[in-house]
Symmetry: D2
Subunit: 156 residues, 4 copies
């Protein structure tokens, strides 16, 4: 298929990965996972990643009174997954800003990369949606968890 210019984040950069089996409901008429479902998989990994961090979502945000809202998503479909295939969904924090945070996701099957992408979220007040600094406790948990440290950035 078409070559992707960007080279993917190597598997070793991901500390966290989740086994996930393709459901019948996720496969389309072409016999392969319907593309938006890779973003659903990323969302499932988001939940489990926060649990693995020891900062479960959304309870960890209760103290700060904020919540994460998705700002952008992107992904590259490199190969297809089929019904009942056992996948590995790797997830990591790639960059920590002031109020924004960038996660990377990669979906593997038998070691082969099927999908990779990135999700950016902003920490904000649930009512006003005004951005707020990321909870320092969250940053601490991420830094303690990730073997490959995320980039940091002044602006956010």
């Amino acid at each position: 298929m078409a070559a992707h210019s960007e080279s993917p984040t190597p598997r070793e950069a991901f500390t966290f990965a989740l086994p996930l089996r393709v459901r019948w409901s996720e496969v389309d008429r072409q016999g392969i996972v319907f593309n938006p479902n890779y973003f659903v998989y990323a969302d499932v990994a988001f939940t489990e990643y926060f649990r693995a961090l020891g900062f479960p979502y959304p309870q960890g945000f209760e103290e700060s009174g904020s919540d994460l809202f998705a700002v952008s998503a992107e992904g590259r479909f490199r190969a297809s997954a089929r019904y009942d295939e056992l996948l590995e969904v790797a997830y990591r924090t790639a960059r920590i800003g002031r109020s924004s945070i960038r996660f990377e996701v990669a979906v593997y099957s038998g070691g082969a990369l099927l999908f990779d992408g990135a999700l950016v979220y902003v920490n904000a007040d649930p009512e006003t949606r005004v951005p707020q600094p990321l909870p320092p406790q969250l940053i601490g948990h991420i830094e303690a968890f990730e073997r490959t440290p995320p980039a940091t950035k002044e602006a956010g």
Copy 2:
């Protein structure tokens, strides 16, 4: 919310737009459309866009014996849609390559931009997934339909 650096494609560049009402099943616990559903909306618009072109999917591809496979997707969540909100999903061909084609999508509510993104597909043999030139008939239909002509590119 967080500023998006990229400026969106203006509404006037889209010849095609589809009215679409937010379903209960598409809204999450935050009361807003779950993010991957914007890519589902893009897919609904894909179908209706091809119908509007006069090159219905997938029948139009039968002669060439090829099919379109998604290569990449990206999008920016600029504001939230809620249950029962009536949206407008604009869709256009942004770039025609040799075997690849880039579509842009933008979701509006009452004239305000909620989401914009891009989808790249490659035309390929359904069995081997080897890329094939886009059907010339498809290109003709697009050129006749789009008021704002798509970019073209040698490689693809």
Copy 3:
């Protein structure tokens, strides 16, 4: 396929029907609509039915401070719908109880019945889930709308 013992509610009993086109995301590997999606279609029809009644959901319930919660669902898959097929989703109130209400749904394609089913909801306090009498205004709107009057029942 297997014969269904129950004979379906005739098309004429339905005052309301909604055109609905099958999405790519709703079709499975067998090339047909994945069965739980018929209940999603019923839910889409629920929203449009309440709008047609002039008692939009959930705003109509605000005065009573209650909400509808699903109690049961049933359906018979009589024939298959395919990608891009234009369906007609008929919806009606079949029985009005004290706090419960039974809706019937039927999905047609070109006049042929593909699916029929029933959904029972109870009107309840959103916090305590204690059943409450159905809003009299809702009952009035239903009685004014339905050409075939729903059954009524003392208990609910």
Copy 4:
């Protein structure tokens, strides 16, 4: 909430159960699992049940050249599941007919019953949809697996 007249199949009747965690995408604006998703959960359990039987779906049907098609579904929503809740989805064969087979499903949380239902499928030729006898091998695997034997029925 409204009382259900039918008493549910007891937990002990189920030999098979699958742990399943509620996804963010499955929860609606009321903060609870959107009702049709219980039928999706039943479908996930279907796959794992066939694997547990040693008659994986759909490979087990290849020899017979047939496939299972859903005929009917029913369910009672007894209590609500919430985001991230860890559920137990129990699944069993309740009745074996000539070409039809009835499964029961029950979803528990912490031992409490949230949902119970039944799915009927018919074994049929994938092209003609003409019913065929259930593969004898499948029946053998079910009888060997289920501690509580399914009912059998002449007609089907």
